[in-house]
Symmetry: C2
Subunit: 601 residues, 2 copies
């Protein structure tokens, strides 16, 4: 009788890339699985006695008051009420004396908000719905109150998920009612809470808020600027609390963490957000292995209990090895198909282009072996691989990309290479300290940031061959995505000054406060930052980081719901001593902005 429910929810829950579909039923179960040792009270302080989703046979006979949204109504007899916790069936009373209750429950449009009071009764034999966690019971209603009526929605809510993402973002408050977004945001909150318990309560870390109104950092071209009330003076929104956390170490707050909001203006980039969140950590008197153990414990402790437990320690791989075997610094180690050096097999080859390759300094011939490729890959696939290779010719990351491309092809043919239940963590270590600048390969830039300490064995090379120096930087990779990175920092003022001024040719004045701080008793220190949005995206199997953020921006950095960024009347810019430089070649664009406050309109 209630099999429509599971169908409805199959409709409501958006399919995710790699995991199975979520329904209100499975959600409810996983909420219980991953809840704290003490189950939280979900109905304290409010007008309900229980959540819709928690009711079971054990509640039989209880008088309950529920608040929720009308999910479904059938024949003016059954009504399904929904809250974040799940669904429950309500029996609409049919007798004359309850006419007003019937009227309320039958006339309220779908998605209206109602409060009902009544008794938990068992469903008639044979009418139980085993697919519904509350499927053994229903509510015999005595009173009902319409709390808010819902206007006709611009689309059927069950079709909602089939609409474009733009529509979902525009009506984000409706999208959030869906089971997948509820699960993602609630799991995120729970995981972060467990991380806090691990850091604060188990290991004595101090949660310290650092400013977001800061000054620009050297080379900080991706930092948003905020005009101040002083002419020509701007704050900048920092890309991370890097400087502050190091200064906290100098200040003796020797185990710092923060769930830190960070900002990066990268213009329009898919799957990036102008503001994002990182679990930001710094410790004094620590070495690389200490940070790594801390993070392994952190992930193990906070990992959702409905997933396979995290196994520690994580394997480790050098940057050089990652590039050689996987063609990338963030290898997906869930499957093999490593890159193999087969140069030796071709030393005496007569094939021209292979001879050419081997005759070059450090010239090599490399291959990827695709297991059973012959069986699975079609001629069309081979052709697309050939084309892919041609398109990416001369890019050193070609083989790494080719490996992933082949994996995609194999999986499209039904081979399971990357188990969606598998979480494969990897440390990548021994990065170079510097890279040649893209626009000027003679000059060097910091591979990560200028505060990264050189590898102890390579310090002597700093003054002779800086491009050969390895760093004490480490990246944390999960299933082929970089989810974190950190380093042991430089705590020696002289070394820091040398790297900034002599190697990197940066404006040291912008960092004089940090250099001075290093001179006044800075302890050795190091840290890491975990990208929370990316991590949650992988944990939930969401297709985009926008699915683990309550109110994300679109590709173009827009809030499609509220229409941010928005025009501002010139008089509101005056206190900040700025004016808009309208592009001279975009008259049409200007008028299309339709901006009533524009000085020329």
């Amino acid at each position: 009788m209630f099999c429509w429910l599971s169908r409805l929810y199959r409709g409501l829950s958006r399919p995710t890339r790699r995991t199975t579909q979520l329904t209100w039923g499975s959600f409810s179960r996983s909420l219980v699985l991953s809840s704290q040792r003490r189950i939280p009270e979900l109905s304290s302080f409010v007008a309900r006695t229980n959540t819709c989703g928690e009711l079971r046979s054990s509640y039989l006979g209880q008088e309950v008051t529920l608040c929720g949204w009308i999910q479904y109504r059938r024949q003016n007899i059954f009504l399904v009420l929904r809250d974040f916790h799940g669904l429950v069936q309500v029996i609409i009373p049919q007798d004359e004396s309850a006419a007003s209750v019937k009227k309320i429950l039958c006339e309220a449009p779908m998605e209206s908000v109602v409060q009902v009071s009544g008794t938990v009764i068992s469903r008639p034999p044979g009418q139980e719905n085993p697919k519904m966690p509350t499927g053994e019971i229903e509510i015999k209603v005595k009173t009902a109150k319409l709390l808010n009526s819902c206007k006709k929605l611009p689309f059927e809510i069950k079709d909602f998920v089939k609409k474009t993402e733009a529509l979902r973002l525009r009506y984000r408050y409706l999208d959030l009612r869906g089971v997948q977004m509820q699960y993602n945001l609630r799991l995120r909150s729970q995981m972060v809470m467990k991380m806090r318990e691990y850091l604060c309560n188990l290991h004595g870390f101090v949660d310290i808020e650092t400013p977001t109104l800061f000054k620009r950092t050297p080379g900080g071209a991706k930092e948003f600027v905020i005009p101040s009330r002083e002419p020509g003076k701007f704050y900048s929104l920092p890309q991370s609390p890097q400087q502050f956390k190091q200064l906290l170490m100098v200040g003796g707050l020797d185990r710092y963490f923060q769930v830190a909001r960070c900002y990066r203006d990268e213009g329009s980039r898919p799957d990036r957000q102008p503001e994002f969140t990182q679990i930001d950590i710094e410790m004094s008197f620590v070495e690389q292995t200490g940070i790594q153990s801390l993070i392994e414990g952190l992930l193990q402790y906070s990992w959702p209990s409905d997933k396979d437990p995290v196994v520690v320690p994580f394997p480790s791989m050098t940057f050089a090895e990652a590039l050689a075997s996987y063609g990338t610094d963030k290898p997906d180690t869930r499957f093999g198909m490593k890159i193999v050096d087969i140069s030796d097999m071709f030393r005496n080859t007569k094939v021209g282009f292979l001879q050419d390759a081997l005759s070059k300094p450090q010239g090599t011939i490399k291959a990827i072996c695709i297991p059973e490729g012959e069986k699975y890959l079609k001629r069309k696939d081979i052709e697309s691989i050939r084309k892919f290779a041609a398109d990416h010719f001369n890019q050193c990351s070609l083989l790494g990309k080719l490996r992933l491309e082949c994996a995609d092809l194999l999986e499209a043919r039904g081979v399971v290479l990357r188990d969606p239940a598998l979480f494969s963590f990897l440390w990548v270590v021994d990065f170079p300290l510097f890279f040649p600048k893209e626009e000027n390969p003679e000059a060097l830039e910091a591979a990560h940031h200028p505060f990264t300490a050189p590898h102890p064995s390579d310090v002597h090379l700093l003054y002779t061959e800086p491009q050969k120096v390895r760093s004490q930087h480490y990246d944390l990779v999960l299933n082929g995505s970089e989810i974190g990175g950190g380093s042991i920092r430089i705590h020696d003022a002289e070394l820091q000054h040398y790297i900034l001024a002599t190697v990197l040719k940066e404006d040291v004045k912008l960092l004089s406060h940090l250099l001075q701080a290093l001179d006044y008793g800075a302890p050795p220190h190091g840290g890491i930052a975990i990208g929370l949005d990316r991590l949650m995206c992988l944990v939930t199997g969401a297709p985009s980081i926008r699915d683990v953020i309550a109110f994300p921006k679109s590709f173009q950095g827009h809030d499609l719901m509220s229409n941010a960024p928005d025009s501002i009347p010139p008089e509101e810019l005056k206190p900040y001593h700025i004016q808009v430089s309208w592009p001279t070649d975009s008259k049409t664009e200007k008028s299309s902005l339709n901006h009533p406050c524009h000085p020329e309109s």
Copy 2:
């Protein structure tokens, strides 16, 4: 023998306004008192085995490795090592074989960072220091390592606190090493953690991050603006997550909280910060009393255990009563001296100015009775009260200010009116929904914000006498400071539209997304925000909110350490389509900015 220590720390610890001085000893004790049920491991993952401050007689004979700053050295025999947890005495070895250890420990300047390994031994009889938590033991050192040498500080560290606050802010990383800042920041972290436990683990709240790159809100003149890469389009930094938290309720995330960074550009204002933090809470299906109970429980649960427990429920007072009895909407209820209406006693007076006052509509005569005022207040005091009254004549808040002024005078004469150990919470309720605009008293503005719901008994007045409507707003007051405020919100789209458009004459278009959301099944909801900085300031007895913030801005909104806000080269402004409007009448000011990148320099 070690009485110098307590003297040193009396010097190091900044005296606070109302509480007793903090020393490393008392700090250490209070840390233990207020620690979690499970004591955190403070030395996991790092190069030390123990903290300096934790060692006691129970550690006798143990081999330990400590890391810390050199606090004090005496006769090249004793060295006091400090970490955040406290102090410990280290015996510098004098025998030939340990010459290198002696050299390191004797030559390192004060505030240098060292690592020492050795044995915990008991001090010789009679040499224990009962004032020092580690005063029964000392460390017999075997090895020592200089981790970082400290350059000569620009001032003696023990004199540091006597310097100006500007100097403290400039060298914030040194200021943070002091016992008071360590206590304030660590207590803040612990209290916030307990609040999270209460909200997440006990009551099922969901921690949700909302965007800070938003659009301007109606009347949001105090919002910082951030130029985007689209000409003329700006993000705004919101003053609170108000709209987002209401949208989350519409989205069915019915118990939300966030430790939210908020922004307000109020120019130069003492004891305000351009960015600040609030404990931001919203619930669906809740009434005023529900929010109040939640908050009472929250403060009781998170209250530091070294203070008297919080007694709940908090008393409640209407706005009208607060004004009548205390002359302010945030009464300090730690002491009496209420304002009394004595009009009736003067109905038949012949005194001219009193007759005048009573003849006016709603004219009253009010008084404050100062207990034993005759005994304590000098002629000079009476004179200053008279002058104060004259200076504030015709301000309706005069009597409230006079009451506080009198309290100050009495306390200056030694009367204890406001017990520093007393925390007196108070709800102030039934605020007016609107106030007349200052610049145009015919027009109305929202007393708090336009989303506040009217008092149920006054709804009918909205359409006839809106100025008489009371609201469902509530303020939380602690010792005469407003530490929080919230309300039941409007969940009816029509009512919200009427108030915005007809009563407040706001631009409804800026809020069309919110109005639309209310139409699509918005549950009744309400919430509150607690000002964390102000709360921590009162809890720690700090003289300024800058003392509970790691890196605060100065009065003028400057970061004195890093020199933010700073100049930005015009080419970095180009992508944002803005240019600086240099004030034409400030040539001198401009040149004094000393800005190398200015287009005219």
